[in-house]
């Protein structure tokens, strides 16, 4: 029976260009599409961050090119505050949604989850295609939001990536709250739907499509990470979608979910003139709905990076992952606790101070599984024989940055310390390091590591290493000084710092950060060049260039349409059997039926 059922799931490789590369149902093509989308989106996001840094460091300077590109936002080359704020909003939204959620999960997860569990495709290939194209539409909509200039709005939406109501709920609350804000909400709603379809597919695939012998505890840690991420997405995106619908209704159907009564805006009282009547809504309700999603989103961004890092550290340290089971539990603990800490974003919002206390204690508890992961990464390196490929360098960089960024959560998670720190630069410093840069380092590591599998060629290691050194030092120079800005009290989302005397002392630091940012962004050109040049001209890669153990390395580079050319692999070992004493080579493939391993994760689970 199983054979017959095999024949059903065969899908012959498509031949036409459109079915093969555009509307493909092949998870590998879809994975690359997601990565391409993220590569485009991240350029948009980075350019925006450079524009913001320029405006902050050299206020009042004329940038003629800006005036040409954005005649509305920067008339005669001078950036207006509303344009700056819409850049803040778009930078955050694009980076969080279209880069940090798409590349790690939709991109690498899509490409490698099925292969690593020995499946020929995702459980629902058509749905998979649909989730990419829905996400793509979301991206197009968010881009139109910034370029939209109607009668009443000359800039994109203003609200930060959190879009707090009632600012975002009232079209008459100033520039940036017009059609651009509608498009922002619609884009996010579309993105939610795309992510939900993807999460559904990931979970079903992992539960249903594992090959023979691929028990849960034999899965690579990457798969655990993608699975947990999918669960987080599945449970958190519906809440954002629900909140987004309510917000949109407040804006266009004039309901009052988030808008209280008695508001008075630009000379008009709610219910008089052209200001519709609103009563009784709760602005804090939006924050609860948003952050119930928003906090798990942080882990959606970073968990795949953690998975890739564990995977790559083991491969290049030539050692089994230290504490595989502890790593799995830590991933789950982080995911689970992630649902109960959203209130730490709201300590000073007017929420009950008693619940703030509970949220604070739960928040600092999340540090425990995070620390466990760090200890285990160091344990994996301990006694290893480390090979410093570019992928390994970025994975090590991930560990360093994860610690650097994560540990200041101990400050922000405390109720009383949040009083001075909330909404200062300490917060962007913290989350950029941990969910932004660390995640991206995980993705750089993944790119350099899996590129030979995806394209059958290596990326240039020399260029890659140069890219690593400058980026690694660069991001420290950008984000560590931001912490001290926060300690001085510099608030976020200020279009200029010139208004306050207590911020004047920080000017040299602001300029230093901006220069570091510009250099770091420019260095990414190396990465883009290396990436696209290597697709065509890179050195040819064999099937298993890194002498790795997991299933993706048992098939050709790139893998055939059905991943394993007509047969499915059978798994005999845990995922990281490196340097097994007595084995002929220093690694044992998961499919190796001959090799004897006396202990390991795939067996009794107890280390020695």
């Amino acid at each position: 029976m199983s054979e017959e059922h095999e024949t059903v799931h065969r899908h012959p490789a498509p031949t036409g260009f459109i079915r093969k590369y555009i509307f493909s149902v092949d998870h590998k093509v879809i994975g690359i599409q997601y990565i391409m989308l993220a590569l485009v989106a991240v350029v948009v996001g980075m350019v925006m961050s450079v524009l913001m840094r320029m405006n902050l460091s050299w206020p009042g300077t004329n940038w003629p090119i800006l005036g040409t590109l954005f005649p509305g936002g920067a008339p005669e080359g001078m950036m207006t505050p509303e344009f700056y704020l819409s850049l803040v909003t778009m930078h955050g939204t694009i980076m969080v949604f279209f880069v940090l959620t798409t590349a790690p999960q939709g991109g690498f997860g899509n490409y490698f989850l099925p292969i690593q569990i020995g499946a020929e495709d995702m459980a629902f290939p058509v749905l998979n295609m649909l989730s990419f194209w829905v996400t793509f539409v979301g991206f197009v909509v968010i881009l139109t939001a910034i370029f939209y200039s109607g009668a009443e709005s000359t800039v994109g939406p203003i609200g930060g990536w959190t879009g707090y109501a009632p600012l975002s709920a009232l079209p008459n609350s100033g520039p940036g709250q017009g059609m651009g804000m509608n498009l922002w909400i619609i884009s996010i709603a579309i993105f939610c739907i795309g992510s939900l379809l993807g999460a559904l597919n990931f979970i079903t695939t992992l539960l249903n499509m594992r090959t023979r012998g691929m028990s849960l505890m034999r899965m690579p840690l990457t798969c655990w990470a993608w699975f947990t991420t999918a669960v987080l997405a599945l449970l958190s995106f519906p809440v954002l979608l629900g909140g987004g619908i309510l917000l949109l209704l407040d804006r266009i159907a004039l309901t009052s979910f988030f808008i209280p009564g008695g508001l008075y805006l630009s000379g008009v009282l709610s219910g008089t003139g052209n200001f519709p009547l609103h009563t009784g809504g709760s602005p804090i309700l939006w924050q609860h709905l948003f952050w119930f999603f928003g906090h798990p989103e942080v882990y959606i961004a970073i968990l795949p990076g953690m998975g890739a890092t564990s995977h790559i550290l083991a491969t290049f340290a030539r050692k089994p992952v230290f504490g595989y089971r502890a790593m799995v539990f830590a991933i789950f603990a982080i995911g689970l606790l992630g649902f109960f800490v959203w209130g730490h974003h709201m300590f000073i919002s007017g929420m009950s101070p008693y619940s703030a206390m509970t949220f604070s204690i739960l928040t600092l508890s999340i540090g425990v599984p995070s620390a466990v992961k760090t200890f285990n990464w160091l344990g994996t390196l301990w006694g290893g024989r480390i090979r410093f490929t570019t992928a390994m360098l970025f994975a090590l960089g991930f560990v360093s940055l994860f610690v650097a960024g994560g540990i200041t959560g101990l400050v922000l998670g405390q109720t009383s310390l949040d009083l001075p720190m909330h909404d200062t630069y300490f917060v962007p410093a913290h989350f950029h390091l941990v969910m932004g840069v660390a995640s991206i380092f995980g993705m750089f590591a993944a790119t350099y590591f899996w590129f030979p599998k995806m394209f059958g060629r290596f990326m240039n290691e020399k260029l890659g290493k140069l890219h690593f050194w400058i980026t690694f030092i660069g991001v420290y120079c950008i984000f560590v000084p931001m912490h001290t800005m926060g300690i001085v009290g510099m608030p976020r989302r200020f279009a200029q710092f010139t208004e306050y005397e207590f911020l004047a002392t920080l000017h040299p630091l602001v300029v230093f950060v901006s220069i570091s940012a510009i250099v770091t962004v420019l260095v990414q050109v190396l990465f883009y060049f290396n990436l696209f040049w290597s697709i065509f001209k890179g050195e040819k890669a064999p099937e298993n260039p890194w002498e790795a153990t997991t299933l993706e390395w048992t098939t050709t580079s790139p893998p055939p349409h059905d991943n394993f050319a007509g047969h499915l692999p059978v798994v005999h070992h845990g995922p990281y059997e490196f340097s097994v004493p007595g084995a002929p080579r220093d690694f044992i493939m998961q499919t190796d039926a001959e090799a004897e391993v006396t202990s390991g994760n795939g067996h009794d689970g107890h280390g020695h």
Binding site: Y164, S360, F502
Partner: protein
Amino acid sequence: MGRALAVVIWALTLGSVSLFFVKKWWFPTAISSHAPALDRQFLITIIVVGLAFTAAQVGLGYMVWKYRDTGTPGRAKYTHGSSRLEVLWTVITAVIFIGLAVMGQSVWASLHFNQAPPGSFPVEVVAQQFQWNFHYAGRDGVPGRTDPTLIDDSTLNFIGLDEADPNAKDDAVHSVLAIPAGRPVELILRSKDVIHNFFVPQLRFKQDLVPGMAIRVHFTANTPGKYELACAELCGQLHFKMRSFMLVLPEDEHRELTALSQEDFQTRMTELLAKYQLPANN
């Protein structure tokens, strides 16, 4: 390569830690009663954070230095971990982290778990895009009635004060917050339009002003002087310009100010704003 990476990691660690250690850029001098305890908690936390950060980075550097592949024959150490170590470091970090969280509650509790002490000086705060309005109750200590329908920015009645209410006769409204030194202050925070945030760095205090809510907070400022007051929650186009001042006045000077009639109050505030200087940057 391993040695180079170790050196870079250690150098970055040293650089990062020294930025916090030299304190060239640091908190402005605190002026509130709860600030010393808060600053102490921050110091304890930042020391724990700094130690953990340094330990992890030094450890990482050590690993990549020591265990780089030098090409000598032999294999990596084959181990799947140690349950005893896992338990050990889970327990240690749990104790430290949760301990910090619990310690961090005391300042919070002192500010938020009880009401303003009797005898506090009350000020009604009404924020709007992009301006602060502070409503002083005047000599009688009872603030006049306010009503959103009476708000009229064009006649400068920003808070909708009902002039017909006898309690409103001696009230004053000003864009600057003037409070007494050494006496508890209770702010009743409201917003007319969107969410704003009351932030004075020297106070070590921050609170959102949410439309539709009246949030009561209290604190005590001890050092007389003029301090910058910022809005710290994105409130629209000119958010970065929503600046005002907080004047902390010696008790008698403050008592004298609040006893003045509306016109004299405005004049006196202008004088006081000129009299006090912003603290020098430290």
